[in-house]
Structure formats: structure tokens, C-alpha cells
């Protein structure tokens, strides 16, 4: 189960933690340089952050699997995989924020990027923890900078509103999560997730049943983590926040924060509580409950998105829906399950970050987020239209783009689970809902494409690209295509995650 050599001494531990440490220091460097340079350069902080992320990525490739500080730091394939996702998400979010740093947040560029990096550090710690306390702290380190980032346009009501909404609901959910965690601690006497799993199993065997307190913790944990995933019915903050927050932040929320939530979910439920998955553990089971929420997510996300006229709001609902698909993969407790989640996240990263980058670019140019204002763009800015269409089509799940591969993998996992166990038949329904709603989703994604392509008029706008956003768009397109056409390395990597979880 632990294929990795344990890290024995502090030096090795620190070496294993090098990417995180480096990134944290780099964040400080970025902030400092920005302050020291009197915030003269529009782009310096941004490029510095991107470079820092690149270096982190390089460092990451040298880091080893293993654990340190007890179980507080536990570098396993899942951590490594998701760290890549976090770093890439941060990279692309930063790349798409050059527009706003140029005009809107002139005085706090360094802090803006620094906070994104802090949040990334939090995510990385989160993904590398196998212990409830560090998990929680990682989660908070992820979220708290995001509260600030959401409200970063200090004189725009929308941004402030999104900030306060995100904050209140976030803190509320975090309290709920903690409450659930406290009961788990009460049951198992440990915060180490693996020991918790063993303890609970042992107690379950000893006492025949360990009471309905697990029920409370399950529900509370789902609510707390569901908030991060924007999983209905814990999703309502998402559209508002995405709409109000700076677009790159919304992008980062929709990918990075979501991925962090997934990691937390996987760790809490698949690592600590897998025994309570099925209906035989009724009423303490969580499988069907999460399945229900996933179904809600797919339905509500896709259905409501159809009505949206604001593209950020539409993408928010779309990301709510995507969370549902991911959860379908999460619910498949087999060797494909987690791998599919990870892979989905990987493909989703490029498509969604790309889409948000396009939206950010357009918003910087025109100040509008209305879908209708995308009319006729394909003639004036073909590259923009093509790449945006590719992102959207990938989100729909059209082969050979990454989104399709991801959906395929997820549904394959679910069907493998459903066809293997009699009690898992309900997953078929989930798959059915997922597939049906993914057809619906076409409607609103295609609507944007329709605006860009089918109009007879030329758009009054012509996009201009700065190097950063161009990089982001190109990375997005290449990533989406690569994830669809040559996904093997990623899939193999993702497969290791399942292995390390014991599936």
C-alpha cells in the first residue's frame, strides 16, 4: 500500500517539501520585490510569479514520494499529481490576470499574485497531508487567501459582495466540517486518517456498530467539502462569487479550489471512511448521499446554466455540473475511480482555465461579460474564437478533446463499479443522469460558439494578446488536445493514485 520509501530524517523531509517551501518563499519574494520596486512595472510581479511556479514545477519533478513529520506530510502519487494541477492552475490564472493588473489593481499587484501563490501552497500542503489537522489547515490556507482575492477589487460592489458571500459561506462550511471532524476524532481517537480507518474498523467489529454519530460526521463532512466543490445543495455561493470575483480568481476557484476540495474529499472519505461507502452500513453510508448530491449537481448545474446570459455565471454553473461528473468518478470505488477523478481534473484544468482566460481577455478588452457581446468574434479574432470553442467543446465532452477522454474515464469507472456489484446498480442511474445532462450542457456551451461563429455581423472588437495570456491560451489548447489524444502518460500516473489508495 505504501510503495514509497519512508523519509527518515528531517533533511530529507525538507527536501521532499522543497517545492512548497520554495513557492512560499517565492511568494514573499514577489510581494517584496513589488513593494521595493514601487510597483512601477505592470508585469514584473506576474512574470516573477509565473517563473516561480515553473521553478516549483521543476522542483516538484525532483521530489520523492515519502512521508515526514509523522503523517503530517505525506508525498504520494496523488499529492504529486494534484500538485501539478494546482501549480498549472495557478500558472494559468496568473497568466490571465495581466489585464487586470494593468488597469485595476495597480497598487497591489504583488499581493495579488502572492496570495494566489499562498493559496497554491495551501493546496499543495493539503494534497500532501494524510492527517486531519494538517488537512484542515491546508484547506484553510487554500481558502483564506481566496476570500481576499475574491474581494480584491476594493471599490467594486460586485467583487466585495462576492468576497463576503464566499467568506461567510466558506467559514460556515468550515465550521460544519470541523464539527464533523470532531466527532470522527471522538470515535477514533486519532487524527491520522489511516489509523482512523483502522480504528473505526476495529471498533465497528468490536461493537457490531459504532452508532449513528458517523452519520453526523458524514453529513457534516459532505457539507463542508461540498462547499469547496460547489456541489449542490452547497453550491449557491458559486455563481455569485464567480460573477463578482476577478475573472482569474474565479478561474482559480473553479479549478484549483475545486481540486483541493476533491483531494480533501478523497482523503476523508476514500482514505478514512471507505468502509461506510455502501448501503450495508446504513444509515452511516455516504455513497448514495453523495451520489444524490452529484446527481443534483449535474442536473442543476446544466439546467440552470442554460438560462444564464452572463458568461462567468454560465461557467460557474458549468463548473458546478462538472463537479457532479467528477463525483461520479469519485463514487466508483475501484481502480479506475480515483484515477478518473484525477484525470478529469487534469483535462478540466486546461479546458476551464482556458475558457476563463478567454473570458478574462474579453473582459479586459470590452468590460463585458455578456454572452451576447461575443457575437461575430470569429471573424475579427479567429484564434480567440477557435481556442475558446475548443475549450467549450472539451467541456461538453466532444472527442478527441480532453474533456471527452475524462468523461469516458469517469463513466467507465462508474460502470465498472455498477456492473461489478449488485448493490452498486444505482450508479447506473448516476451515469444515466450524467450522460443525459452532458447532452443538455451542449446547449449552453454551443450557444457561445453560436454567438461567435454563426452571426453575420463582424464583432466590433478585435482581441490583442499579451504574451502571458497567449501562453495560457496555447497551453490550454495544447493541453486539451494532448489530454484527448495522448493521455496515456497522465492516465498511467493517475492510475498510481488508485494504487496508492489501495484500489
Amino acid at each position: 500500500m505504501d510503495p514509497q520509501l519512508p523519509i527518515t530524517n528531517v533533511t530529507e523531509t525538507l527536501l521532499a517539501m522543497l517545492p512548497e517551501i520554495f513557492l512560499f518563499c517565492w511568494a514573499l519574494v514577489v510581494i517584496t520585490i513589488d513593494v521595493v520596486s514601487k510597483r512601477k512595472s505592470e508585469t514584473l510581479a506576474g512574470y516573477l510569479s509565473m517563473i516561480g511556479l515553473l521553478i516549483t514545477g521543476i522542483l516538484l519533478s525532483f521530489s520523492t514520494y515519502g512521508k515526514g513529520f509523522g503523517n503530517m506530510f505525506f508525498n504520494d502519487p496523488m499529492a504529486a499529481f494534484f500538485k501539478i494541477i494546482f501549480i498549472s492552475a495557478a500558472f494559468m490564472a496568473i497568466g490571465s490576470s495581466f489585464g487586470i493588473t494593468k488597469k485595476k489593481i495597480v497598487n497591489h499587484r504583488g499581493e495579488f499574485f502572492g496570495l494566489i501563490l499562498f493559496s497554491t501552497v495551501g493546496m499543495m500542503f493539503l494534497s500532501a497531508s494524510r492527517e486531519m489537522i494538517s488537512l484542515y489547515i491546508g484547506l484553510e490556507l487554500t481558502t483564506i487567501p481566496l476570500f481576499v482575492l475574491a474581494a480584491f477589487f476594493k471599490d467594486e460592489k460586485l467583487s466585495i459582495e462576492s468576497g463576503i458571500k464566499y467568506f461567510v459561506i466558506g467559514a460556515f462550511s468550515s465550521a460544519l466540517l470541523l464539527y464533523g471532524m470532531s466527532f470522527l476524532y471522538g470515535l477514533s481517537g486519532t487524527t491520522d486518517l489511516l489509523s482512523m480507518r483502522l480504528n473505526i474498523a476495529a471498533f465497528h467489529l468490536t461493537f457490531k456498530q459504532i452508532g449513528v454519530v458517523v452519520l453526523i460526521s458524514n453529513i457534516m463532512l459532505v457539507a463542508g467539502i461540498g462547499f469547496k466543490l460547489a456541489l449542490p445543495p452547497f453550491h449557491q455561493w458559486a455563481p455569485d462569487v464567480y460573477e463578482g470575483a476577478p475573472t482569474p480568481v474565479a478561474a482559480f476557484l473553479s479549478v484549483g479550489s475545486k481540486a483541493a476540495g476533491l483531494v480533501a474529499f478523497a482523503k476523508m472519505f476514500l482514505l478514512a471512511l471507505p468502509a461506510f461507502y455502501g448501503t450495508e452500513m446504513f444509515p452511516n453510508d455516504w455513497g448514495m448521499m453523495v451520489g444524490f448530491f452529484a446527481a443534483c449537481s449535474m442536473i442543476i448545474g446544466n439546467v440552470v446554466a442554460i438560462r444564464q446570459t452572463n458568461i462567468k455565471r454560465m461557467l460557474a454553473y458549468s463548473s458546478i455540473a462538472q463537479a457532479g461528473y467528477i463525483m461520479v468518478g469519485m463514487l466508483a470505488l475501484n481502480e479506475h475511480g480515483l484515477a478518473s477523478v484525477a484525470f478529469y481534473m487534469f483535462a478540466y484544468l486546461f479546458a476551464n482555465m482556458g475558457a476563463f482566460a478567454a473570458v478574462a481577455l474579453f473582459e479586459d478588452k470590452t468590460g463585458s461579460c455578456q454572452i451576447a457581446s461575443y457575437e461575430g468574434l470569429s471573424k475579427t479574432s479567429p484564434f480567440f474564437a477557435v481556442s475558446f470553442s475548443i475549450f467549450l467543446l472539451s467541456l461538453v465532452g466532444i472527442p478527441p478533446l480532453g474533456g471527452f477522454m475524462a468523461k469516458y474515464k469517469v463513466f467507465a469507472a462508474a460502470i465498472a463499479q455498477a456492473s461489478a456489484h449488485e448493490s452498486g446498480q444505482w450508479i447506473y442511474w448516476l451515469v444515466g443522469i450524467g450522460l443525459l445532462t452532458s447532452v443538455f450542457s451542449l446547449y449552453y456551451y454551443a450557444n457561445v460558439i453560436r454567438q461567435m461563429y454563426f452571426s453575420k455581423n463582424d464583432s466590433p472588437y478585435t482581441m490583442t494578446y499579451n504574451p502571458a495570456i497567449l501562453t495560457v491560451l496555447i497551453i490550454g489548447v495544447l493541453g486539451v488536445l494532448a489530454a484527448g489524444l495522448f493521455p496515456e502518460p497522465v492516465l498511467e500516473f493517475a492510475g498510481q493514485i488508485s494504487n496508492s489508495f489501495g484500489f
Partner: protein, 180 residues
């Protein structure tokens, strides 16, 4: 319920502290004047600290007092004073809202208690242990905590400091008035 009553019967101090805590918490969530709320919040936090002491968590109690009472509450009072003219600003809760909310909240609270009771009954030896069987908490738990913080919990400790740093930076960025 019997269990609850039995246990309560023998502990007047707990009874008093928790009552103070709950009543003042109730005040916090119902009073109109937000400044009064803050005062009651301090009282609540104090009583929580008291409970911590009863639970052999002296260091925690101290931290509670220091951090919450000493820092957060004061911060809040500052915020209140900064953000509102508290003499005039008496925001009322809408009654409809309160009623509708109180229903699920009551369900929630009673449900949790009921489930806990049920669990205690179900897993008798685990959760309702005879105090005699328990190894007592180390008396020098403050020292223990110190040790923990420097060994096992070193990493979260550091990460929390990063968290605090980032929160601080964030708060400064947000709170700072821009020169335009």
C-alpha cells in the same frame, strides 16, 4: 435524557458555566445592539475557557482568553466602531426569518444530541467509559503541547503561521485605503 440529567446532577460548576455560556451566546445571536453582542461574545468565550479548564486544558483556556478575548473580540469591537454608528444602528432580525431558521436549527441541535445519546448507548464501553479505566490526561499538558508543537505538529504549526501571514497580508490589502 436520563444520562444527561444524571451527569448534570453532580456538577454544579459545569452547570453554571455552561448556562452562562449558552445564555450569553443566545444574547449574542439575538440582541439588537451589536456592541452588546460583542460584550456577550466575550462573556461566552470566557465561559468556554472555563469549560476548557474543567476539561484539563489549561493551556488552551489561556490561549482562548488571549486570542479570542484579547484579540478577536477587541478587533471586532474596533470593527464595530469603525463601521457603524452603534448608537443608532440597531439592526433588527426579521421575525419570519428567525422562525423559519429556528426550526431546522432546533432540529439540528436536538438531532445531534439525540444521535450522540444513541451512540453512547450503542457503544457503551467506548464512549461512556468508567473514569477509573481511563489513563488520566497528563497533568503537565502545557508542556506536552509545547513538545507536540515542536515535534509532531511542527508542520501544521508552520503552515498555520503561513496562514496567519497570508491572512494578515490579505487583511492589510483589503483594509488599506487607496490613494487615488
Amino acid at each position: 435524557m436520563d444520562i444527561l440529567l444524571n451527569e448534570l446532577a453532580g456538577r454544579p460548576v459545569f452547570w453554571i458555566i455552561s448556562m452562562i455560556m449558552l445564555v450569553s451566546a443566545f444574547m449574542v445571536v439575538t440582541l439588537k445592539n451589536v456592541f452588546h453582542c460583542a460584550i456577550f461574545l466575550i462573556l461566552t468565550l470566557f465561559s468556554v475557557a472555563g469549560l476548557f479548564v474543567m476539561l484539563n486544558a489549561e493551556f488552551l483556556a489561556a490561549a482562548q482568553v488571549l486570542i479570542y478575548v484579547g484579540a478577536i473580540s477587541i478587533l471586532m469591537i474596533f470593527a464595530i466602531m469603525l463601521s457603524s454608528n452603534f448608537a443608532k444602528d440597531k439592526i433588527r432580525m426579521t421575525s419570519k426569518n428567525a422562525i423559519v431558521v429556528s426550526l431546522p436549527v432546533m432540529f439540528f441541535g436536538l438531532g445531534v444530541i439525540a444521535l450522540v445519546v444513541k451512540t453512547i448507548v450503542d457503544i457503551q464501553p467506548l464512549w461512556n467509559r468508567d473514569p477509573a479505566d481511563l489513563t488520566a490526561l497528563p497533568a503537565d499538558n502545557t508542556m506536552m503541547i509545547g513538545k507536540y508543537l515542536m515535534t509532531e505538529y511542527m508542520l501544521p504549526f508552520e503552515v498555520v503561521s503561513v496562514l496567519l501571514l497570508s491572512a494578515m497580508i490579505g487583511a492589510i490589502v483589503l483594509a488599506r485605503k487607496e490613494r487615488s
